[in-house]
Amino acid sequence: MPRIMNNPDDIVDEMLNGFLKAHADIVEATDNKRVVKAKNIPADKVGVVTGGGSGHKPAFIGYVGKNLCDAAAVGEICSSPTAAAFLDSFKAADQGQGVACLYGNYSGDNMNVKMAVKMAKKQGITVKTVVANDDVASAPKEQCEKRRGVAGEVLMWKVGGAKAAKGGNLDEVIAAAQKAIDNTRSVGIGLAPCTLPAVGHPNFEIKPGTMEVGIGHHGEPGIAVCKLENAAEMAKRMVDVVVPDYPFEAGDEVVALVSGLGATPVMELYVLYDEIECLLKEKGIHVYRPYVGNYFTSMEMMGATLTLMKLDDELKELIDTPANSMGLKQN
């Protein structure tokens, strides 16, 4: 893997330097160098925080911005931020109305957030959490509390961020974000692995000519390894995992988010989306708003994820709210 980097141990800090310089109109540094906050957070709103390991651009810091997250805690590559970073993110985001911490279901994040919430409480900051678990392939439905959070987190942040921006109180923000993730299902297909910069070789294998259905954002294996299929077949496979699980039904209006995993050319995401939209239409499911692009990646993994979120009037309004961050700009 030829990379643009210096010492791999410094890649997160150096990336943050560049990110802060490149997006100084949207974000700013804090005293904790592993915490990024939004510029000009409106007073008196509920703070919205996220955080996670690095290497998933635009996630997580790319969703800090107007009407989205107010702060994010930054971890090492594919590794949870420290409890201290979460705590400092809470402090950076808190405007006296409490903080909604919206993050993904990984054991490191769970532990660090839990500790940070405890510490925050001691310091008088109320933090409530929503844990994204949209990845259908990561556990059976009966154990959905075990499921990983993947690209559906983007929709959770969009909804939670918009609710806070519109003046929702902490419980309302938490309820909206929880509804968003409860209404959301995702699945990923991996075509080629990624490499941790400091390790230097891929930590898992996808044999040429095969694909990994249900892959996680760190290469966690999924539900099946099968021969590499064409776009139409992949689309069908993804729709067949996601649609019956929720289940999405004829007449439903949904957000459809197709995200690349990193190195797959964006051209191919459009080919995939075209197939997916046709399959959904056949089922009577209407895409109210599509998002297609690199929304949640895993360095140079190849492949894509499909995420569907069932909409109601509240979610529509929140999804339609303008937003401005590096990863999501919407008028």
Partner: protein, 213 residues
């Protein structure tokens, strides 16, 4: 001798550091098989940070554990920060008032570390985590303490218990952490955390045996 001075414990910590550094690649490989391959890197980063900050300083065994735990906790994050951070900090607290460390004190310290861990994770023996190494190691020390065994003998027994515990993870199905999503696919390889825990305990025991002789 059946005790060593808490204040002489720096070399134990340094041996633990060396143990992790020497196994950085290996731990990465083990984690790569059913996890994300970063365990060696994560552990090495924390332990090496400790080394670079404290190599020139004087500190006792329990102070060293405390400082190492705090670095893991506050600067490494991931799963290892809270997990090893808690184990080491809680073990240190349990022993910090002792001038001399003997089998009983060490057993209590590690029991305390394990208890602290179990407050934050639900993993039990059999779930394919580092608990499978730590729990039998602690139990072995506790038994030696009851039997009044020589410290060195107790440490050698503990190493064996830790090693057996580590090896027991091979045939287990992971129930927690990243690899738990693999279900049956997680069988057949060691757990990364169980492996690093065994390395740490072994390095610690060997350094103590040297100190005792």
């Amino acid at each position: 001798m059946n005790t060593f001075k808490n204040k002489d414990g720096k070399q134990i910590l340094m041996a633990m550091v060396k143990g992790i550094q020497a196994n950085k690649e290996y731990l990465g490989e083990v984690d790569g098989l059913i996890g994300d391959g970063d365990h060696g890197m994560n552990m090495n980063k924390g332990f090496t940070l400790f080394e670079s900050r404290f190599a020139d300083k004087e500190f006792s065994f329990t102070e060293g554990l405390e400082e190492l735990g705090t670095i893991l906790f506050a600067e490494i994050g991931g799963s290892m920060g809270p997990i090893y951070g808690t184990i080491l900090n809680d073990a240190a607290s349990a022993g910090e008032d002792e001038e001399d460390i003997d089998v009983k004190v060490l057993a209590e310290m590690l029991r305390s570390g394990l208890a602290g861990l179990q407050e934050i994770v639900q993993a039990q023996v059999g779930d394919k985590t580092l608990v499978d190494t730590l729990e039998p190691a602690v139990k072995s020390l506790e038994e030696s303490a009851v039997l009044g065994e020589e410290f060195s003998l107790a440490l050698n027994k503990m190493k064996e218990a830790a090693t057996d515990g580590r090896d027991s993870t091979k045939d287990m199905v992971a129930k927690f952490g990243r690899s738990s999503r693999l279900g049956e696919r997680s069988k057949g390889v060691l757990d990364a955390g169980a492996t690093s825990c065994c390395i740490i305990l072994t390095a610690m025991a060997d350094a103590m045996i040297e100190l005792l002789s």
